[in-house]
């Protein structure tokens, strides 16, 4: 295992509920994962899997009410984030952990110039005067590939891809140790997405920061991440290094995801979708939440909550089917 000091983030048994008037949504259920310094973790899952809630918990930004962190610890650089006061938290946000949101159109304030918005982040966390901060802002713009002169322009004068670059510049302005990117390229066109991803990879290397990349696109994960965690109905059902999860997937849901993707590299005759729908997060089964859609499920899966098993290396997977030692998925392991 990695040395504890090499970990920037340790999440243990995190449980988050949204308590609505007459029902409770179990958004994140007993989630644990670690992230090493300078590493990128990809958090994959479909709508409602709990990816964004997990990320927001790290910044202690769960909207409360209705969100309630029910239990668990989130250690950022060794300190539990959940014990911090509001004041301490605001010092951490932006400075040590930054977040990029999906929609660049709404994450910039239309009445301030982009330069001012970047400078603001700098002024809050670094003791710089306005002028120095604005100069640093221009530098940041150049780093993300926008001419420094454009700092005096307003967000509406930028295109979608450019706005997302500005958002990245704001997030990186204070050299955070951890960057959380929530679907950073979903709203962008493919060629622009390629530019932005490329930029993010490059900057990550340059600053040596760790990153959590939330996405539903396995292709993006394959190209940017070191580690992967697959979420389904609030739980991490499989996690491990990129190679472990992509080449030797162990969970039936992960297999299902790969099968349902149209792949540009090989033209499949027919897609094999996962049948059925995501379970209602207010009425989750007692056991495995994927059991109703799982082709390998036994009747007992509905009642027995699977334990997380170790599959060598950093590879973990929660599935009851492995109670039977001879069990293996239909998908064949890829040997490189």
């Amino acid at each position: 295992m990695e040395n504890k000091n090499d970990l920037i983030l340790e999440v243990d048994h995190l449980t988050v509920n949204y308590e609505l008037e007459d029902e409770t949504v179990e958004a994140v259920r007993d989630v644990s994962f670690q992230l090493g310094r300078g590493k990128t973790l990809g958090l994959v899952g479909e709508t409602g899997a709990g990816k964004t809630t997990t990320a927001l918990s790290i910044l202690n930004l769960i909207p409360d009410p209705p969100g309630v962190i029910k239990g668990g610890t989130i250690k950022l650089d060794g300190d539990n984030v959940l014990d911090k006061t509001i004041k301490e938290m605001s010092r951490i946000r932006g400075k040590e952990v930054s977040m990029i949101f999906q929609d660049p159109m709404t994450s910039l304030n239309p009445v301030f110039t982009v330069g001012d918005q970047i400078a603001e982040a700098i002024m809050i966390h670094e003791k710089l005067d306005k002028k120095a901060a604005f100069e640093k802002a221009q530098e940041m713009l150049q780093i993300v590939g926008i001419p420094g002169e454009r700092a005096a322009e307003y967000p509406h004068q930028f295109s979608g891809g450019m706005k997302q670059r500005v958002v990245i510049a704001i997030a990186l302005a204070c050299n955070p140790q951890l960057l959380i990117a929530d679907e950073p390229t979903t709203a962008l066109d493919v060629t622009i997405q390629a530019q932005v991803l490329d930029l993010m990879k490059e900057l990550k290397k340059k600053y040596g920061m760790a990153m959590i990349l939330i996405t539903h696109d396995l292709g993006i994960i394959a190209e940017t991440c070191d580690d992967v965690a697959v979420m389904y109905a609030g739980k991490i059902i499989e996690r491990g290094s990129l190679e472990e999860v992509f080449n030797t997937a162990r969970h039936p849901y992960t297999e299902g995801l790969f099968n349902s993707l149209p792949n540009i590299a090989e033209r499949k005759e027919r897609l094999k979708p996962i049948p059925g729908l995501m379970p209602d997060p207010t009425k989750l089964p007692k056991g495995c939440a994927f059991a109703p859609r799982c082709p390998y499920a036994k009747p007992s899966c509905i009642d027995v909550m699977p334990e997380e098993r170790h599959f060598g290396g950093t590879h973990y997977c929660s599935c009851n089917a492995y109670d039977d030692e001879s069990f293996h998925l239909e998908r064949e392991d890829i040997v490189l």
Partner: protein
Amino acid sequence: MSDILLEVKNLKKYFKTPKGMLHAVDDVSFTIERGKTLGIVGESGCGKSTTGRCIMRLIEPTSGQVIFDGVDLASLSGRQMRKARKDIQIIFQDPFSSLDPRQTVLQAIAEPIIQNKLIKGTAAIEKRVLELMETVGLAERLINSYPHELDGGRRQRIGIARALSVQPKLIICDEPVSALDVSIQAQILNLLEDLQEKLGLTYIFITHDLSVVNHFSDDIAVMYLGKMVEKAPAEELFAHPTHPYTKALLSAIPVPDLRYKQDRILLKGEIASPVNPPDQCRFRKRCYMSCDQCKGKEPSLVEMTPNHFVACHLCQIG
């Protein structure tokens, strides 16, 4: 005799804007054979959706011909066109806004049947609606549900049932799966494929996602800023992409397979404005291969190898 269902000739759609004429679709021509699928690919603002809407005149084209089953749709009167729409249907991208929130599943699917007076009598109409629901995989118990009670995949199934209800010959699928989750996306794609086989439908499949069209189409047309820049049978296009934009687009797709490595072509800058474009290659400013030749006239679509058309000066010089 070739069995051509739709022939689009020199289709143009310009929009008036305060800054000048916006060339949304500029001189696009193509044909589709009965029972086949044409994929139209491109990024936002390339005119792919406008092309689809011009075909069924949801947007009036500025000029050009749309010959459907031997009839030029552009020449029909409003009333005749409304009747002709029965044969061409469209499935929309956003299953959250393409259904009237006040209509139940039954009402939404029955509406086109009643409108076109295909079946008479409440019981008979309901029977047909139930048939359609079964065809697209909607459970009978959902018949009185409202769209907001259903998830994206089911709503998209309602949209498909609505389109099928008038027994069209051609269905224009405008990004039908891009708003859906991966596992649901595959369900809908398979459904569309099954329907094509069973009912002999012809599709125009509009999308920004090349991996989806690859899976789905017989022919693929790539559009950039209102122009068709390349058109070829799907396998040919993926095996020998020729236009620099097609190559860049293909290389930009992230592939979820660690074995698959390729050199990425990163394009400079962003899509230019389609307002009053100059008479030269519209991709020139972003093109990584452009030369002096490209500053000349706008390149036209030329058949390089059989059935493979490309609009690029460089490729045409060879």
